[in-house]
């Protein structure tokens, strides 16, 4: 259907260093916001810095925020994660809300690169009772059985054959109305 998965690496969902098992450690280490102080393309970034940045920094004290005003450059942000990965995003002509949205997106990610999840669950202990093998639930009687065996040699869950079913029906009709002639 869609081809977004064709070049996207795929894998199972995972987290660095069992994050969340003991305590949750926010994975965003630092974010660098580069912008121009006068160009129009950085307007959204400038508005964001003036209004929402302080609140963001207060709610995320584990992330260092660096601001780099650079003339004649389009705005961008580079996020660095605890596992060493970096992520670059161009913020050219973003609105203030878009900048906030993308920044909070960076915040909630671990540094593991975007990939197609094959499954949305992962476990290190896939089996508790043990993986099935052909000997599971086999009756121990097969160990000392002499073959051919009247029960074990036959197929299991055989069910009555058509002949046997007809004989059953015949016997039932016999019991219900013995006076009538039996159907052939």
């Amino acid at each position: 259907m869609s081809n977004s998965h064709l070049f996207l690496p795929s894998g199972f969902i995972r987290t660095p260093l069992q994050n969340g098992l003991g305590r949750y450690i926010p994975q965003l280490q630092r974010i660098t916001i580069k912008f121009c102080k006068s160009h129009g393309g950085s307007r959204g970034v400038r508005d964001f810095i003036e209004s929402d940045l302080m609140e963001f920094a207060k709610t995320n004290p584990g992330t260092v925020v660096y601001l780099k005003p650079r003339r004649h450059r389009s705005p961008c942000m580079v996020a660095e994660y605890l596992n060493g990965e970096r992520e670059y995003l161009s913020c050219h002509e973003f609105s203030r809300d878009e900048v906030y949205k993308w920044l909070s997106y960076m915040c909630t990610r671990s540094g593991i690169p975007v990939m197609r999840f094959r499954k949305y669950q992962h476990t290190d202990y896939p089996t508790i009772q043990g993986v099935w093998n052909p000997f599971t639930h086999q009756a121990p009687e097969i160990n000392v059985a002499e073959f051919p065996h009247e029960v074990l040699s036959k197929p299991i869950n055989h069910g009555p054959t058509a002949t046997e079913q007809l004989i059953e029906i015949f016997k039932k009709t016999q019991l219900e109305d013995p006076a009538n002639k039996p159907p052939n």
Binding site: G22, I25, P26, G62, K68, L82, Y88, P140
Partner: protein, 343 residues
């Protein structure tokens, strides 16, 4: 459509993940980038690999802010001096004093190194790990506790933990890229600094949350196994007053082929204890005895999940109590003296 692609930026030496958009690029952009990449590859081959720079050489770097963020990221409060001392290595101090004396400046630097802190941190970390293991694995002999402790305090494990909490950029050391021992020393010193700043309780929870969680997903029976499982099983059953273990062949398949499998069951007075499988009868016998021992130690594959985080609230006092009380060693475990040794 927005796709993630990897871009090689000429200024940054590491590969950067880009959230890219569709753009129309001029006809000269691709050839220019191709030529730059070609020259970069030549330079790197000449220089023996890509150049790497420490994060502190970048213009956007504020060590005080990084330290502040480090303690907040972990949710802990550190004394500033303790934390800075924990991150400063002797090699760094020596290099700085040598550099300053080369210039000719009087060097009365007030740096404190992390040797003592690392030593103390290693001891208290071992103590916390042993306490947790003995409180969770109550029926396990001390040899397995020691094996699990050695796995958790091994250099690869601690280096992974140290790298993933961000110590790589914060350490002040002379070697770059930093060696494994440097990471491990810094981490141990950070644990000691935390114990100094916030108390032993917080340091214990810190070690539980960061180091002991590395045991999750690891099969503890791969770390240690008794040498003579059949002998141990016989001794245990004898001291419990049960009959001798009897090994019976339960299942077999392919006995004349390479892929032979034998299932051997252990019975004591016709009561089933455990079964084990192997490619020959001797191997299957030993596996069955090992399974029986796993049942006694409560380390089977179906054992209870290890508790972490909030689940440890109720047993913290028990953990603290068992830090100095080793479990029973295997030789005593199988002997008649042990009838009432349950924590």
């Amino acid at each position: 459509m927005v796709l993630d692609t990897v871009v090689y930026c000429s200024r940054l030496t590491a590969a950067v993940n880009v959230i890219s958009k569709r753009n129309f690029k001029a006809h000269w952009v691709a050839p220019t980038l191709r030529e730059l990449q070609r020259r970069k590859v030549i330079e790197e081959d000449r220089g023996g690999g890509p150049k790497i720079f420490h994060r502190s050489t970048f213009l956007e770097w504020n060590y005080d802010a990084e330290i502040f963020a480090f303690s907040n990221r972990l949710g802990e409060k550190f004394n500033d001096s303790s934390l800075r001392a924990a991150l400063t290595h002797k090699s760094y101090i020596e290099r700085e004093t040598a550099r300053l004396s080369d210039i000719g400046v009087e060097s009365n630097l007030q740096f404190q190194d992390n040797e003592a802190l690392a030593q103390k941190g290693g001891e208290i970390m071992s103590k916390f790990i042993n306490g947790y293991l003995r409180a969770v694995f109550t029926q396990v002999p001390e040899e397995l506790i020691r094996a699990m402790h050695d796995f958790l305090t091994s250099n690869p494990t601690l280096e992974t933990v140290a790298k993933h909490i961000g110590l790589g950029d914060l350490m002040l050391c002379a070697d770059f890229p930093c060696k494994t021992e440097t990471y491990v020393k810094s981490f141990k010193a950070v644990v000691a600094a935390l114990a100094e700043s916030s108390g032993e309780e917080r340091a214990r929870i810190f070690v539980q949350d960061l180091v002991i969680t590395q045991l999750y997903g690891q099969d503890v029976n791969e770390l240690w196994n008794p040498v003579d499982p059949i002998g141990n099983l016989t001794a245990i059953l004898k001291r419990e007053g049960k009959a001798e273990p009897e090994f019976r062949l339960i299942r077999q398949a392919g006995s004349n082929s390479i892929l032979a499998v034998y299932y051997v069951g252990v019975y004591s007075d016709k009561n089933f204890i455990s079964e084990g499988a192997g490619e020959s009868l001797e191997v299957a016998k030993e596996m069955a005895a090992r399974e029986a021992l796993k049942k006694f130690f409560h380390t089977e594959d179906s054992m209870r999940a290890l508790p972490f985080g909030r689940q440890l609230k109720n047993i913290q006092s028990k953990i603290a109590q068992l830090e100095n009380q080793p479990n029973v060693p295997l030789s005593e475990w199988i002997s008649p003296k042990i009838m009432s040794a349950v924590h």
